[in-house]
């Protein structure tokens, strides 16, 4: 089995190395992931990227290996247990801090501490992102084993700048930056995010290829399509 490494954005893909496929962020991922999987036909996938922290014990750069992915009102998706154990073991040996916990998928970034606290109390998800459930659902429909690995970018105790809370993909960034330029009181928050990004990117660079290698070395699970490790 050879695992395909997927990332929502080109920035996250660059952090992890050359052989990573960009599946798109948020709604783009929901629209594109089926086509990406049908075209590449991987035998397994690792979706890796950053997430917002909900578990208050997690800091920027801490990793969340998804025990399940949640969307309110939809079935919880759970990765194959032997594969999860395999990847978990590989990450433990790598020494990078991580937790195994649910991840929540939402349509818009959760920006305020209050929102994050309420969602944490309601779901117990360690992190929140905008793609995992859609990617896992598409993989599941095609019988492709999947794993999701996320690095915390903005921890539970931090607030996202208001100008960033409508972010839905890299295409929005010129607009976001233009708005942020007029809001100097948010600049320190962007600076914190920039430092956090360095830690999150380092974690992804160290752990995502480890997870993909562990998945590739694992025994075949179920009826998976052809083997591919694709480059962008």
């Amino acid at each position: 089995m050879s695992a395909l490494l997927l990332a929502p954005t080109a920035r996250e893909a660059r952090a992890m190395g050359p052989e990573v496929v960009v599946c798109g962020a948020a709604a783009v991922a929901r629209e594109r992931i089926g086509r990406v999987l049908d075209e590449i036909r991987p035998s397994a996938i690792v979706l890796a990227g950053v997430c917002g922290g909900l578990d208050p014990s997690l800091s920027p750069g801490d990793l969340v290996l998804a025990r399940s992915v949640l969307v309110p009102g939809r079935p919880e998706l759970v990765p194959a247990s032997p594969l999860l154990d395999t990847v978990r073991g590989a990450l433990r040996r790598s020494g990078w801090p991580f937790v195994t916990a649910p991840l929540l998928t939402v349509e818009r970034p959760l920006g305020s501490r209050r929102e994050k606290t309420d969602v944490w109390n309601a779901t117990g998800a360690a992190g929140v992102d905008m793609e995992s459930h859609a990617v896992a659902a598409a993989a599941r429909e095609r019988g492709i084993p999947w794993i999701v690995l996320r690095a915390v970018l903005d921890p539970a105790g931090s607030e996202l700048p208001v100008s960033l809370r409508s972010w839905t993909g890299e295409g929005d960034e010129p607009t976001v930056l233009a708005v942020a330029a007029t809001r100097p009181w948010e600049w320190s928050a962007y600076l914190r995010l920039a430092f956090a990004w360095r830690r999150a990117a380092a974690a992804l660079r160290a752990a995502a290829p480890t997870a993909a290698a562990a998945l590739s070395a694992a025994p075949q699970q179920g009826a998976a399509p052809a083997v591919t490790l694709s480059s962008r």
Binding site: L54, P56, F98, T100, A101, T117, N121
Partner: protein, 190 residues
């Protein structure tokens, strides 16, 4: 009650520990706290929601996490709250009301008995380590906690979360001042 009165009469410092269950109404808990504070005049109180032991024959007595938060919000909304002295950090009391997010500190209350060092968590009965080093070094501590272990889904017990609150209080000068002021005003840390 007689024992508490006698302990107080003899000059002992007396603290109570109240476990809140699904059949404890906020009004009943308020009346109990008033009784402990005003009639028995205990030095301070601790409070915690009951842990939902999976093997307990009657599961209906246990609160689920959202119910716990709602119950504690109601308990702490009574004006009587001003008279209650808790041996808790302000942060832990906010956590019980869903206002301060916290993860469990599973190593926060190590337990030793004739059987050895109890592996986390003491509520789960996962066996014993023969030495403290074995307990600390061989336990996968990150495996425990809300969201990480299904058995922790409805746990907000002070054995794991007050330790987190103490760590956060000691790490933050502002929280440290809050806890200190609460204690100096005679209301306990809470």
């Amino acid at each position: 009650v007689a024992a508490i009165r006698e302990a107080r009469r003899r000059g002992f410092r007396v603290s109570t520990n109240t476990t809140v269950y699904a059949d404890s109404s906020p009004e009943q808990v308020r009346d109990l706290f008033n009784f402990l504070m005003d009639d028995l005049r205990v030095d301070g109180m601790m409070v915690s929601p009951g842990y939902d032991y999976p093997k307990a024959p009657n599961q209906r007595v246990f609160l689920k996490r959202p119910q716990m938060i709602e119950t504690f919000r109601r308990i702490f909304s009574f004006p009587d709250r001003r008279r209650w002295r808790f041996f808790h950090t302000p942060l832990f009391l906010e956590f019980l009301q869903g206002k301060a997010p916290m993860q469990c500190t599973a190593w926060g209350n190590p337990t030793r008995s004739v059987l050895g060092w109890q592996r986390p968590c003491y509520l789960m009965a996962e066996g014993y380590a023969s030495t403290f080093r074995e307990l600390i070094e061989e336990t996968d501590w990150d495996r425990y906690g809300y969201g990480r272990d299904p058995r922790c889904a409805n746990c907000m017990a002070h054995c794991g979360y007050e330790a987190t609150a103490v760590k956060a209080t000691m790490a933050s000068p502002l929280e440290g001042v809050r806890a200190g002021v609460g204690a100096l005003l005679g209301r306990g840390a809470g």
